[in-house]
């Protein structure tokens, strides 16, 4: 099952990630990837990654493994973690940051693991791209049978020595902005304590885990 999120290997990855992050923070941002590379990156995700998730001919376990591979490959937890924590990132202690990044990755994987079936029957087509200050916004049209296509914009950034998707904008709604608003709200309501958010994330991850176990 997907409890790999809690294995020592996963935690180690988290620690290493945090270490990489500290190094990254100390360095100026790497030079921007070319737009073409970014478009190719998204093309790979939508043409190879996502179809293999919804391929009914593959066993469920294999598809779940594929999901984890895809998340690891496309999602930079450190970068996204900083974006979604926003100004609270600056206030967080090192321990809090490390724990937050661990939980965030578990949360994301748990979130998508139980729901990737929803992607079945969707058709994703790349329609163009814009460049913004070292980021590339790759526009795609996601269509389902019967429904009018939705615009999904993938924000691709060079993070360290690789490309990563750092946000998705669905019909103008940014996942990062939404998440940041939620996380900020939980922290504020918890008296400005980042621990409040960590507790809440732990609760959700745990609930997902039990849901899957049952």
């Amino acid at each position: 099952m997907m409890t790999a999120a809690a294995t020592p290997a996963r935690r180690l990855t988290g620690m290493l990630g945090a270490l990489a992050l500290m190094l990254a923070v100390a360095m100026p941002q790497a030079q921007a990837a070319s737009a073409d590379e970014s478009v190719a990156f998204v093309r790979e995700i939508v043409e190879e990654g996502i179809p293999s998730l919804t391929d009914e001919s593959l066993p469920l376990e294999e598809r779940k493994a594929e999901l984890r591979r895809l998340v690891d490959h496309t999602f930079d937890v450190e970068r996204v973690g900083q974006l979604v924590l926003g100004r609270y990132w600056r206030q967080a202690t090192d321990e809090e940051r490390t724990r937050f990044l661990e939980l965030l990755e578990e949360y994301v994987v748990a979130l998508y693991a139980s729901r990737f079936d929803r992607l079945a029957g969707t058709d994703i087509e790349i329609t163009g791209h814009d460049e913004r200050e070292g980021r590339t916004l790759v526009r795609t049209a996601v269509s389902r049978q019967g429904a009018s296509p939705a615009e999904v914009v993938w924000q691709v950034e060079q993070v360290g020595d690789r490309l990563a998707v750092t946000d998705l904008l669905i019909e103008g709604v940014s996942l990062v902005v939404t998440q940041r608003s939620e996380f900020g709200s939980v922290i504020e309501r918890g008296g400005g304590q980042i621990q409040a958010l960590l507790d809440r994330l732990e609760e959700l991850v745990e609930r997902e885990r039990q849901r899957r176990a049952s």
Partner: protein, 420 residues
């Protein structure tokens, strides 16, 4: 391209973005002087001389101005309760009983009914081609699509869209105002609630309900069916989000605000520079940080010919002195057609905009103290003021540019801020 001022305040201090934001925020404050008595219980607060200003306000996508969050959350809980006991169960039955083509037909029919009011609002927004498209859709689908049940127009490549009076107000320059959760109807804000009411009078079908009993019954049926269809449309997404969100209330609030912003832009891409990366810690660590207050950000003179719209003023609250402001913020919506709004110079410095010069005058020289609270609420910001001292000194008091919203000279003038 509507970008708001308020949210930019929390950009990593010292980055060009933050400078832009801070300068702009001062503009918002200046404009709001004396006008705002709102006491927000979250977000950055600026307090001076007994006045409170919410700078991280309103207009930020995802960081909405929510001064009555307590009340909103209570209504939200009630709505969820109502959803649990009534709306969701009814929708479940609807989904199970009604065949898919029928559900699609009902949806198409409802969307088609909205086309006339969309056309009216498109006209009011000065978008005749959009109004024509809406009207064309309505006629096509009503005639060829059996009263709107079949979406013939979409099959021909004309996707449905919606313009309502809330969007019209936004195009006129009104900001969202405080976030509101309406009983049963859900997320809204002062502007959009106003828009909803006005739309009743702009929509021929709901207008007809005033004159005919049959139309009144039709109106009720439309409302109920519309509610069930809306719940049906978001069924999975809503349930997923409720289950997995860290804070469902905040998630919906953010989604609503972002979605409305996107609708107001008619789907045009957002100018992300202003709002999106304002909280990006990387930016702060990029070496352009604010540890360097001695080096003044360059301030340039506004060149009216070279302006490009970059920002709008946020909600400035409730004002007893100016009841006409109650509709919401007076924003400088940099609509694509507008010749100028705020001036963004090549180096990202920005002139502040003053809509309400008298308030500014009233406040005298206190304005520059306003930054203190906002910045200190960031916790780690060393910057004592929204404007750096040299930046302040460099600002003059002269009017810099004529301000237009959607081509109409709505606001008066953009001003350079004065330290006096």
């Amino acid at each position: 391209m509507i970008t708001r001022i308020g949210h930019a305040v929390s950009a990593a201090p010292g980055s060009p973005l933050a400078r832009l934001g801070r300068t702009a925020a001062v503009g918002a404050i200046v404009a709001a002087l004396g006008a705002c008595t709102t006491l927000p219980d979250d977000g950055e607060k600026l307090a001076s001389g007994g006045f409170y200003f919410d700078v991280a306000d309103a207009a930020t996508p995802g960081e909405p101005h929510d001064p009555i969050e307590g009340v909103n959350r209570a209504i939200f809980s009630f709505n969820l309760f109502l959803d649990d006991i009534l709306i969701r169960p009814v929708t479940v039955v609807y989904r199970a009983v009604v065949p898919d083509p029928a559900k699609q037909g009902i949806h198409n029919f409802l969307v088609n009914l909205d086309m006339p009011v969309t056309a009216v609002n498109a006209l009011l927004q000065g978008k005749p081609e959009r109004a024509g498209a809406a009207l064309g859709r309505f006629v096509t689908n009503t005639v060829a699509g059996i009263g709107g049940i079949v979406d013939v127009a979409a099959a021909a490549g004309a996707e449905p869209f919606r313009e309502d009076f809330g969007q019209t107000l936004a195009v006129y320059g009104a900001g969202p105002g405080p976030y509101l959760v309406l009983p049963v109807l859900g997320p809204s804000n002062v502007r959009d609630t106003t828009g909803r009411v006005v739309d009743i009078f702009l929509d021929p079908f709901s207008l007809a309900a005033f004159y005919s009993r049959d139309m009144r019954n039709f109106g009720y049926a439309r409302a109920v069916t519309g509610g069930i269809d809306a719940r049906h449309q978001i069924f999975d997404v809503f349930d997923d989000l409720r289950e997995t969100s860290v804070d469902f209330y905040a998630a919906l609030r953010s989604l609503y605000n972002q979605r409305r912003e996107a609708e107001i832009r008619d789907g045009a891409p957002v100018n992300q520079e202003m709002d999106y990366f304002r909280d990006d810690p990387f930016r702060e660590m990029d070496g352009e940080a604010d540890e360097n207050p001695t080096q003044p950000p360059p301030v340039t003179t506004a060149v009216p010919g070279a302006v490009k719209p970059v920002a709008s003023l946020g909600w400035r609250g409730w004002d007893a002195k100016a009841p006409s402001m109650m509709l919401g913020e007076y924003s400088l919506a940099g609509a694509p057609s507008s010749a100028s709004s705020l001036t963004e110079a090549a180096d990202d410095s920005l002139v502040a905009v003053d809509y309400f010069e008298p308030f500014y005058e009233e406040r005298g020289d206190d304005d520059l103290a306003l930054g203190t609270t906002a910045d200190s609420s960031e916790g780690t910001s060393p910057s004592p003021s929204l404007l750096d001292a040299p930046e302040r000194a460099a600002l003059g008091g002269a009017p810099a540019a004529e301000v237009q919203v959607a081509g109409i000279p709505t606001a008066r003038q953009a001003y350079r801020l004065s330290s006096e």
